[in-house]
Every structure is written in C-alpha cells, then in structure tokens.
C-alpha cells in the first residue's frame, strides 16, 4: 500500500467537479419532468374536452352518421363501446387458452431445448410485428382468401394474434415462478403430469396469469389498425359477430378527420371513455398481481 501522497490531491472534490455533478443531476431531473409533461397534458385535455361531451345520450345512442346538419344530432358512442367489448372479449377467448397453452408447453415440456428456444424467438418476433400487419394478415386469409366481407370475428382474430405473444410471455414468466418443489411433491405422490399442471401449477400461478391476460386485453382494446380492414365500422349497435361492427378506436379514428366540431368533440369523449376502460383494466391487473403469493 504505497500510495504516493501527491496523487491524493488529484482526487480532490474541486468546485468544478461539484458544479458538474449538480448540473448533470439537475438535467436528469429536468428530463424526467419533461417526460411526465405529455402525460399531464394528455390527461388534462382528455378530461377537459372529453367530460364536456359526456352525457346520458352520449352513452345510450348510436352515432347517426350525420355530420352536416347542425340541427340534427350526431349521436353517441353506444355501438362503439359495445362493439369494443364484444370484439375484445372474443379475442381474449381465442388468445388466452392458446397463449397460456404455449407458455405451459415452454415451461413444462420445452424448457431449454432447441425447439423451445425457437418458439420463444418466434413469439418475440410476433411482439415486434406492427399491429396493422395483423389486420393485413387476417384480411389476406379470411377476407381475400374466402371472398367474403368484413366481420367482427375477423377483427377478433387480428386482435387475438396481437395478444398472443403478450399472454404467452407473461404467462411463461409466472409459470416459471411456481416452485419446483410443488411439482416434484405432486409427481412423487403419483399424480400424472396433466393433473400436476391442471391442479397444482395453473392454480398456483393463477393471479399472475390473470394479470398478464388483463394487460393483454388492455393493449388490444386500444388498437385501431388491426380492426380497420377486418371488422370495419358501422353506426348501428350489433350483437352479431359475423357482421360489421363498430369499435371505440375506429370510431375515434373516423371522427378525428371530420371537419365538424361536434364530431371532434365526440372523439374526445370517446377517447376519454376508451382511456378510462384501459386504465381500469390496468388497475385491476395491479390489484390482482398484488394478491399473488408468488412473484
């Protein structure tokens, strides 16, 4: 330990270093504040413009399609809200079993094998595919391929493809957290593999699985692009999944381009409704994950 004493002077906390430190820390804090400004502005504008157009009629009437005559009503967003719920519900019904199934396979059977790595890679690839490409894919296969028209269930297919990687990846993480000892004890007691998965692994991971599913649903609910050429848009409320169906994002997208102020205001109201739905789902997801015993 022969540190030359003169070098200690070089490590002195000079005022220049102190200034630089303060400047850098200040910039980092400033950048964080800058990052939060858009959120504040968006929330502010959504509330101030969106709440203004909320009314009983807004939620209980369909859009009328009228945008030219100021005297007549332009209608509300009832069909869009119900349509979003229907389309997303079917998408979840499709994506959740498949997504969780693939995750179970990855964790219980595939593990670190070469094929499992390949599947993981492809699931990641799916995560990166632009959302509009899912719409194009469903269009090619289910609309151009069959010569039929747009339908709500085709929109659900597109959203299901979008949800699939989110569900699989989050489920995989949660399933891996299930303690190996639980599986081993069940197997040692003579339980067959399927029973271990169905009775031990999945129930243990359930809260985490639900969180992942809710987040995937929240993401799908806000997507416009996959629905444009699959479910299309219409004005009327529809409960038939094989017909055209309206949805909140598509309705907002169509309203944005309108030159009529009232229609743009309806878009703000619809946006507030959509964001509220998504935030509620996010909140639920967080509450469920807090109750989880693992992870």
């Amino acid at each position: 330990m022969s540190t030359p004493t003169h070098s200690l002077q070089r490590f002195e906390l000079t005022s220049a270093r102190r200034r630089k430190d303060r400047l850098a820390r200040g910039s980092i804090v400033a950048a964080t504040v800058v990052a939060l400004i858009p959120l504040a502005l968006i929330v502010y504008y959504l509330l101030s413009k969106g709440l203004g157009s909320w009314s009983w009629n807004f939620f209980t009437t369909d859009p009328t399609g009228n945008t030219f005559f100021a005297k007549q009503s332009i209608g509300g967003v009832k069909s869009a809200i119900l349509g979003t719920i229907e389309i997303v519900a079917l998408a979840a019904l499709l994506a959740v079993p498949i997504g969780v199934g693939v995750a179970v396979w990855l964790v219980e059977y595939g593990r670190d094998g070469r094929f499992a790595q390949l599947v993981r890679f492809f699931v990641d690839v799916l995560t990166g595919v632009p959302s509009i490409m899912f719409g194009l894919f469903v269009y090619i296969v289910l609309i151009a391929g069959t010569g039929s028209s747009y339908a709500a269930y085709k929109g659900s297919f597109a959203l299901a493809l979008l949800m699939l990687p989110v569900v699989t990846r989050s489920a995989e993480v949660v399933l891996m957290l299930v303690p190996a000892a639980l599986r081993e004890s069940a197997l040692a007691l003579g339980a067959p593999r399927w029973k271990v998965i169905a009775r031990i692994v999945l129930p243990t991971a359930l809260p985490g699985l639900v969180t992942g599913v809710l987040l995937a649903i929240a993401r799908a609910a806000g997507e416009t692009a996959p629905l444009l050429f699959t479910a299309a848009a219409t004005f009327k409320t529809s409960f038939s999944l094989s017909g055209f169906m309206n949805s909140l994002p598509v309705q907002i997208y169509n309203d944005v381009t309108s030159p009529t102020t009232a229609v743009v205001n309806r878009a703000w109201g619809a946006a507030l409704a959509l964001v509220s739905m998504i935030l509620l789902l996010n909140l639920f997801a967080r509450l469920v994950s807090r109750r989880s015993s693992i992870g």
């Binding site: 490590f11 270093r17 430190d21 850098a24 820390r25 980092i28 804090v29 950048a31 964080t32 800058v34 990052a35 939060l36 858009p38 502005l41 968006i42 504008y45 959504l46 199934g101 693939v102 396979w105 990855l106 219980e108 059977y109 595939g110 499992a116 599947v119 890679f121 492809f122 990641d124 799916l126 995560t127 990166g128 595919v129 632009p130 509009i132 194009l136 894919f137 090619i140 151009a144 067959p192 593999r193 998965i197 806000g222 997507e223 416009t224 692009a225 444009l228 050429f229 994002p249 907002i252 997208y253 944005v256 381009t257 743009v264 703000w268 946006a271 959509l274 998504i278 935030l279 996010n282």
Partner: protein, 341 residues
C-alpha cells in the same frame, strides 16, 4: 402395513395401463403442436404476404418498388421511397428525442430518486404506454401541432440556410410532429428496459466508485452507463421497432402526402400510414402495392427487432454472472484515472 394400505389406495404411474396414461400423452403432444402451429402461422403469413405483393414487385421490380421515388395511384405507378423515407425520418426523430429522455428517467428512478417516489414515477411513465395510439393522434393533431406551429415556423425561418430544416412552408401535420409524438410513445418501453438493465449493475461497482470519492454523476457516468451500454442500445432498437411500425398516430400526424418533403416541417407519408389510409379503397395493382409496402415494413421491423433482442439478451447475459477479479481492478483503475483527469 402402512405401505400396503397406501398401495391399495392409489396406484403408481408405472402401474397404470397405457390407456390411463393417454391424457398425459395427449396434453404433451397437443401443446407441442400448438407451439409448432405458431411457427407455422408466421411462416404461412410471410409466404402469403409475398404472394399478394408479387404483382407490384413484378411490375416495378423489387428495387424499383422499394427505392422508386414516385407513389402515384392515378398513374398506377408505385415507388415506395417517399413512404420508406417518411418512416425512417419520423423514427429517427423519435429516437433522437425520446431515447435521451427515456434513459435520463431510468437513471433518475434507479439512482437519484428518493425511495418513496420511485414506484410512483415509474408507474406514471408506464402509464404513457396505456394511452392508445389513436388518442395520441387525436391529442397531437388538435393540441400539440397547432400549439407548436409558431415555434416551428420560427425555427424554419431562422435556420433558412440549413438544409432539411430551414425554409419551406410549415404545415400543421408534418414529419417533426409525427416524430415528436412517436418519441413520447416509445418513451415508456425504452425507459422500462433501460431501468431493468440498470438494476443489474452490481452494487459494488457503484460503491467502489463512490468509495474512491466519485460524485453521484461521476458514479453514473463511470460505473452505471458503460455497464449498460449494450442494454440501452437494445432498448433504443426496440423503441425504433415500435416507431417504425406505429400506424394510426402517424397516419393522423404526418399529413398523408405521397411525396418526399424536402424539409422537416413538411407533409409526408409512412409505410404503415399508407396502408391504413389507402387500403380500404385500393384495387388490383394498388392493393398489391400496399401489400408490398407491408412486406417492406414487415422485413424492416423484423430486422430491427432481431438485432434489438440479441443486444438485450447479450447485455443481460453478460451482466448477470459474478464478475471476476480482473474486471474489478479494471473498473477501479478506469474510475481512478477518470477522477484524476
């Protein structure tokens, strides 16, 4: 006695008849088939997409389509360069504006922030990811773009000599606004991945720096950032992938003009936006050209995402293992040298 009663109660897996073991087999092969189906699906999609895009490629040539500077629906002539450039310009703008801010937020949350507000700040930034694309578009076109137009005009006038930025008419929807909103949209993902990578920096690296008398910032610059370079690059690439593929917000904000604007504040088009905007009415060759644009977009995002995944994976893998004595001394001498200078 005990063993006998146990055996009479239930039989071991090995004693079961092949028929009783059927559900097990079925589950295993069923799930394997499901996993394989996902692979098959992506490959099938790719093949069908190429098939649909073929007429456009046949007419213009693959390079002629991708780099032809003329998208003219009326003349049935399709060159995707204006779209490709629009996608690239807006995405690069998004990275240039979004990544520094996102990394700064990650540094703030992991290194500087008081423990109490750590989670709230992180959650607030994550909330940006919960806002749907179309709502960003709505907010951008009716609030942000009109509010920023005077500032953009000022910049364009002042910097009139600078190529690409100066001169020209400032329109409400333009490359810059689209890029700015994209920057906000990629912020949460870049920030959260950077944060994850930063949390893998071993505490003793940081403590070593502080112990040698480094200030907080010097510790961040010398111990944290170099350690996370790979991971942050990967996060930025994932953000780039998002920005390239983002559709609806860009469609609303870029102006949908199918020519290459010579300057930052002019209208343009992007690959994703052209599909969203024109696909509904497109027929025959036009439709095929839009599929071809989709194919270019797909390949572009694929490349970016693969590189990004590899970078993040590599960064996390090299960061995890316990560090050796060698890099302990190495880090410390680097810090010592930097402090001395």
């Amino acid at each position: 006695m005990e063993a006998a009663s146990f055996a009479s109660g239930g039989r071991s897996t090995l004693e079961r008849s092949p028929l009783a073991r059927l559900p097990d087999r079925a589950l295993k092969y069923g799930l394997t088939a499901l996993a394989a189906a996902i692979l098959a699906l992506i490959v099938y999609f790719f093949i069908r997409l190429v098939g649909e895009a073929r007429p456009a490629f046949a007419k213009e040539g693959v390079l002629g389509f991708t780099f032809g500077n003329d998208w003219n629906v009326g003349a049935n002539h399709f060159g995707a360069l204006p779209l490709l450039m629009g996608t690239l310009i807006t995405s690069v703008l998004a990275l240039a504006m979004g990544v520094p801010v996102a990394v700064a937020t990650a540094v703030y949350v992991t290194e500087l922030c008081p423990r109490r507000i750590r989670t709230p700040v992180a959650v607030l930034i994550e909330l940006l990811a919960a806002v749907p694309s179309v709502v960003y578009g709505l907010w951008g076109i009716f609030f942000l773009a009109p509010k920023l137009q005077p500032a953009e005009q000022f910049l364009a006038d002042r910097l009139s000599g600078v190529p690409f930025i100066g001169g020209g008419l400032v329109t409400i929807p333009n490359y810059f606004i689209a890029g700015l909103v994209l920057a906000i949209m990629i912020l949460p993902i870049v920030s959260s991945i950077s944060r994850e990578v930063m949390s893998t920096v071993p505490p003793d690296h940081k403590e070593a720096a502080l112990g040698l008398g480094a200030t907080r910032w010097e510790m961040i610059r010398l111990a944290v950032l170099p350690y996370c370079r790979g991971g942050i690059t990967g996060a930025a690439m994932l953000g780039l992938g998002r920005a390239i593929g983002e559709t609806i917000a860009v469609t609303i904000l870029i102006g949908d003009a199918p020519q290459l604007s010579g300057h930052l504040f002019g209208q343009g088009y992007s690959l994703a936006a052209v599909i969203a905007n024109e696909f509904g009415e497109a027929q025959e060759l036009h439709r095929s050209a839009l599929f071809a644009a989709g194919l270019v977009l797909f390949v572009l995002t694929l490349l970016v995402n693969v590189v990004a995944r590899l970078l993040v994976m590599h960064a996390e893998r090299t960061n995890r293992p316990k560090r050796s004595v060698r890099d302990f001394t190495e880090t410390d001498t680097v810090i010592g040298r930097a402090l001395g200078s």
